[in-house]
Symmetry: C2
Subunit: 248 residues, 2 copies
């Protein structure tokens, strides 16, 4: 069962992407849209809220809504799962486990993932035949066994875990910065040591807020960028200062 407001949002999004509603043009008023779709104004408001959250529409009290852009921001899965993102965009991709071992959790890892053993996996992922991303992932003890059953060349760990134990990665926190490539990074990604890498550190949890994994992902320069659309309304990205006193 698809919600009505989703259908309306899809329809309007199509008009924007196709150019029928060009960038800079005004959207019809809520009252007009309600009549067109034979829906209540509240339902139309939910639909346009979806598009505003995607960064496609601007909104301010008293004035007509305006089309801001045509690029569609895909959902959470794209940010979280390399495979789902690559597939949605039609790229050829692959993955290969380099090393995998169990060990006891460090203090920092215990704080993030809970106490006990953890499973550390080093995974290299490729896009269009080229190595692009090096993932250093630490899994909590309660998923370690399921992760170990996954074949080394599995394309999508997210999907494998869903199929095997019904695990859903529901929430995540991501920290993005730049680091220079270490010896191992350089060798596996095929770049020179010291090359700039885009780093995404993340902690992912289930629906219940139970931590699943903590990961340090490093992208080869030029291969991938992150894109954010935002408006004066709420948006989830913030800057954070590093420790400026800890020396360079």
């Amino acid at each position: 069962m698809v919600a009505r407001y989703e259908l309306i949002a899809d329809d309007l999004r199509n008009e924007i992407v196709s150019g029928a509603l060009p960038v800079g043009s005004q959207l019809p008023s809520e009252a007009e849209l309600a009549e067109r779709y034979r829906a209540a104004r509240g339902t139309v408001r939910q639909a346009v809220a979806v598009l505003a959250a995607e960064g496609l529409l601007g909104s301010r009290q008293g004035a007509r809504r305006i089309v801001l852009g045509r690029a569609r921001s895909q959902s959470f899965a794209e940010l979280h799962s390399f495979a789902q993102w690559a597939r949605a965009n039609g790229y050829r991709f692959g993955g290969q486990v380099i090393t995998q071992r169990r060990r006891t959790a460090s203090a920092a890892e215990s704080a993030r993932l809970g106490p006990g053993e953890v499973l550390e996996v080093l995974r290299l992922r490729s896009l269009e035949g080229e190595p692009v991303l090096l993932e250093r992932t630490v899994y909590a003890e309660w998923v370690a066994a399921a992760v170990e059953r996954i074949p080394a060349d599995c394309e999508s760990v997210t999907e494998a875990l869903y199929d095997s134990i019904g695990l859903v990665f529901a929430y995540g926190e991501h920290l993005i910065d730049a680091v220079s490539a270490g010896a191992e990074d350089a060798r596996l990604l095929g770049v020179r040591r010291g090359s700039p890498l885009l780093r995404q550190r993340r902690v992912t949890t289930t629906h219940e807020g139970r931590p699943v994994e903590s990961s340090d992902d490093r992208y080869r320069p030029g291969s991938v960028t992150f894109s954010i659309r935002n408006s004066i309304g709420a948006n989830p990205l913030v800057r954070q200062a590093g420790d400026l006193r800890s020396g360079r």
Copy 2:
């Protein structure tokens, strides 16, 4: 006039930040909250939607809402304006124009900002007394005169433009990746040439969708990271592949 749902959201946020509602605990049901605040259920839903958008709450049909985290995601202004972000977080900060000149827009700039002349400004910003961010900003012709009137050591360009011509930066698109420091970057930021820099390219528009500026901002390594909280619901950040065939 502050909206009721904002007050309720503030109240609940305080309970979360203070620890009265610890991470992992369940929020009261919508019905209970509606009774507590003497508000309609719809109003309560708006309040919790705010907190969910900030990444503080998780939500799924049928189950109680769960507290996911305590860190507050600040708003758009923080991502857009260095000064507002730094001030909100209590940092000492400054800024200095290095060079500033008018020139004709390149083809790419015309496409982004509209045709005609542009104003190119190179600005160095500091945090806690250390150079941290190098901004290469290109302003559209219609704001160039106002930008030129701003003193070279102005702390907040955003605020200066609001005060002088009532300009509001309302929407933005941001691309984040890593690059290595060039000669000029290295000299001004006080790092070695080739150091990894976190780059944020952005295009900002007014309420009406009119482009104001296009900027290439480079952060010194270790000084600043970006943080995103997301959930399975809509979130505005996506990965984008670079051109993988254009050689390294």
